[in-house]
């Protein structure tokens, strides 16, 4: 499921329309060779339009790509990083949250733990995973696995793709806030290198709960924000139609997060988005992770490196 026909996103519509036009003319070509020149011209137009559309993506377009139903999810990366990866289950206190996937695997020459949020591909999976929104038990499962990795000196990679932590009655009763806070508390002091990659949506505290890491990478079309653009629009503008304004104001794109000094690097996606080529984006992501693991290997105080990074974040007048 790497290429093939995908329904166009809203901003891709002009491109799709032009393509339909070209295909129609191409069907007529055998009976009307005079169309050849026109078709060539339209192909040129198509390439120009493609460059201009994908070269000028707005934040809200990237949000659509980040949420694309065919965007590769955590499990798709795991399968491609190491087909023999071994999954670890459960928080050891009664629950296994499928929205948080944990596994041991080989990544190049490294043996690592990967922990990531999982959205679910079909309706059943989506329901089981709460559309990628972990329960408190999911965060506690992640923490149990972090401790495991620390014990055996395995670097940790977290893959983030979540609208946020699940807002439910049981989630509150089981202390969602504490689960997130406690992960931050413990992540700050883990003695192994940790890298996080925002694959799609980096939604608020639910993303940060596995995102307090030495190195933060973002896929080119992923987003990272303090609240969902929809939530921001409804609170600040009191209007669900102001999502685009919220996207622009909050500075949610990879480039903006890099400019603000939050993330370390941006992983380039295939033209049009990661959903166009799963194998390619998995390979590129793997290469980036290995490059940054190599860099972290020469840090002599990995905890200090991590805490110093977050200690510096903030903008104020003193």
């Amino acid at each position: 499921m790497t290429t093939g026909k995908l329904p166009p996103l809203e901003f891709e519509l002009p491109l799709a329309n032009l393509n339909t036009q070209i295909e129609a003319l191409e069907r007529q070509l055998p009976s009307n060779p005079a169309l050849e020149q026109e078709i060539l011209e339209l192909h040129k137009q198509y390439d120009n339009l493609k460059r201009s559309i994908y070269g000028n993506l707005r934040a809200i377009d990237r949000l659509a790509i980040a949420r694309h139903p065919q965007r590769p999810y955590t499990r798709d990366y795991l399968d491609r990083f190491d087909p023999n990866w071994i999954e670890l289950h459960g928080d050891r206190h009664g629950v296994d949250d499928p929205a948080m996937v944990c596994g041991l695997l080989k990544l190049g020459n490294y043996r690592v733990l990967i922990v990531g949020t999982q959205k679910g591909r079909n309706i059943r999976e989506k329901q089981l995973c709460n559309f990628g929104m972990p329960q408190p038990e999911g965060y506690r499962k992640a923490l149990r696995c972090f401790k495991h990795a620390e014990k055996f000196n395995l670097p940790i990679i977290t893959l983030i793709d979540t609208p946020g932590a699940y807002p439910g009655m049981a989630a509150e009763e089981h202390n969602q806030a504490q689960a997130i806070a406690y992960n931050l508390f413990e992540l700050a002091n883990l003695k192994v290198p940790i890298i996080s990659v925002i694959l799609g949506e980096g939604g608020s505290g639910g993303a940060l709960a596995i995102g307090l890491t030495n190195t933060i990478l973002m896929l080119e079309n992923s987003v990272y924000s303090v609240i969902s653009p929809e939530g921001c629009a409804s609170i600040l503008w009191r209007s669900p139609t102001k999502v685009q304004e919220a996207c622009e104001s909050m500075k949610i794109t990879a480039q903006e997060n890099k400019d603000l000094g939050i993330i370390d690097d941006i992983i380039e996606e295939p033209l049009g988005g990661a959903h166009h080529n799963w194998n390619l984006i998995a390979k590129t992501t793997q290469n980036y992770i290995i490059k940054y693991l190599d860099k972290l290997n020469i840090e002599n105080d990995i905890v200090e490196h991590r805490t110093r990074k977050f200690r510096k974040i903030g903008c104020f007048k003193d």
């Binding site: 932590a165 505290g205 949610i252 903030g314 003193d318």
Partner: protein
């Protein structure tokens, strides 16, 4: 205005208010308030004297950071830290108003420079670091300044080996600072981990309301967690949860008492008893009493058989 002046001015104002006889309607309204819970008409001065707690139903009204500090710390013991730390507008954020204008508005409404005041003080004689959030400034939201002031007071507690008390009251992260606000969760939690490793007591006091990013970071990381009666505390807001699960939540959902029942906090303490409770807790954790004296160790005979 210096904090000491503020406390002094307020005393003066209270006295002059008492001396006044004839009142305009406006002043009359300012003097009376209907209890949010039992609807009883309360005289604001009585309410103030009762620490903003309804004498009839014990509803705990929100109180500001300055009142909180005055109530908790011994008279004239509070020394403010980082008083001059103020917000900038890193994202040039603009919704229906610019962030800069909203900051000015928050300042005019509350008289505060930010949603938190930090400092050192004594609490019934026990030296401590104290931070109090103020919901009246920007909904007590946490942006860079709140995150930085919390972090610095944690670091001070670490350096000076003083117990730390943080009184939370917040709607969560400040959206106008975008991702920088979110990162304050990480910064404050990481600082608390260091405090934890120094074995210094941190008491978190949750007051009406404490939500979102504040709950999901320092507020839930207390060695001891206290909440005020009736305070609403949670991660997600009630409305968001009801929309997600499409069912009505119980009336007492996310109240201090509900959290106590579900094992999330240590105790619910009424406002009047807060200073004594905190002082007792500090006393029960003073390390000096716990450590065995050197001569006691030497006297313990080694048994080798």
């Amino acid at each position: 205005m210096d904090l000491k002046d503020w406390f002094a001015n307020r005393k003066k104002n209270n006295e002059t208010a008492q001396a006044k006889q004839i009142l305009s309607t406006e002043e009359y309204c300012a003097l009376w308030i209907s209890c949010f819970q039992c609807r009883e008409l309360l005289y604001t001065r009585d309410l103030r004297q009762n620490l903003q707690v309804c004498p009839k139903c014990h509803y705990h009204f929100r109180i500001g950071a300055l009142d909180r500090i005055e109530h908790l710390s011994d008279a004239n013991s509070f020394c403010e830290t980082e008083a001059n730390l103020i917000s900038s507008d890193p994202l040039k954020f603009f919704d229906t108003l610019s962030y800069e204008d909203r900051l000015k508005e928050a300042n005019q409404k509350s008289g505060l420079k930010e949603a938190i005041i930090t400092g050192t003080c004594t609490i019934q004689g026990h030296p401590a670091c104290l931070a109090a959030m103020d919901f009246g400034y920007f909904g007590g939201s946490m942006g860079s300044v709140v995150g930085e002031k919390i972090t610095r007071i944690i670091e001070l507690a670490c350096d000076q080996r003083l117990p730390l008390i943080i009184i939370s009251s917040s709607g969560g992260a400040r959206m106008q600072e975008g991702i920088l606000s979110l990162m304050q969760l990480a910064k404050t939690s990481a600082a608390l981990k260091k405090l934890h490793d120094c074995a210094i007591l941190y008491i978190s006091v949750l007051t009406e309301p404490t939500f979102g990013g504040v709950t999901a970071s320092f507020a839930m990381l207390g060695d001891i967690i206290i909440a005020e009666p009736g305070a609403r505390i949670g991660f997600a807001g009630r409305r968001v949860i009801e929309q997600t699960i499409r069912q009505k939540l119980p009336a007492d959902f996310q109240t201090a008492e509900y959290l106590l029942k579900h094992g999330q906090i240590d105790m619910v303490i009424e406002r009047a008893k807060l200073p004594q409770t905190i002082a007792n807790l500090i006393d029960l954790h003073s390390l000096d009493c716990n450590q065995p004296k050197p001569e006691a160790i030497a006297k313990t005979p080694l048994k080798i058989h």
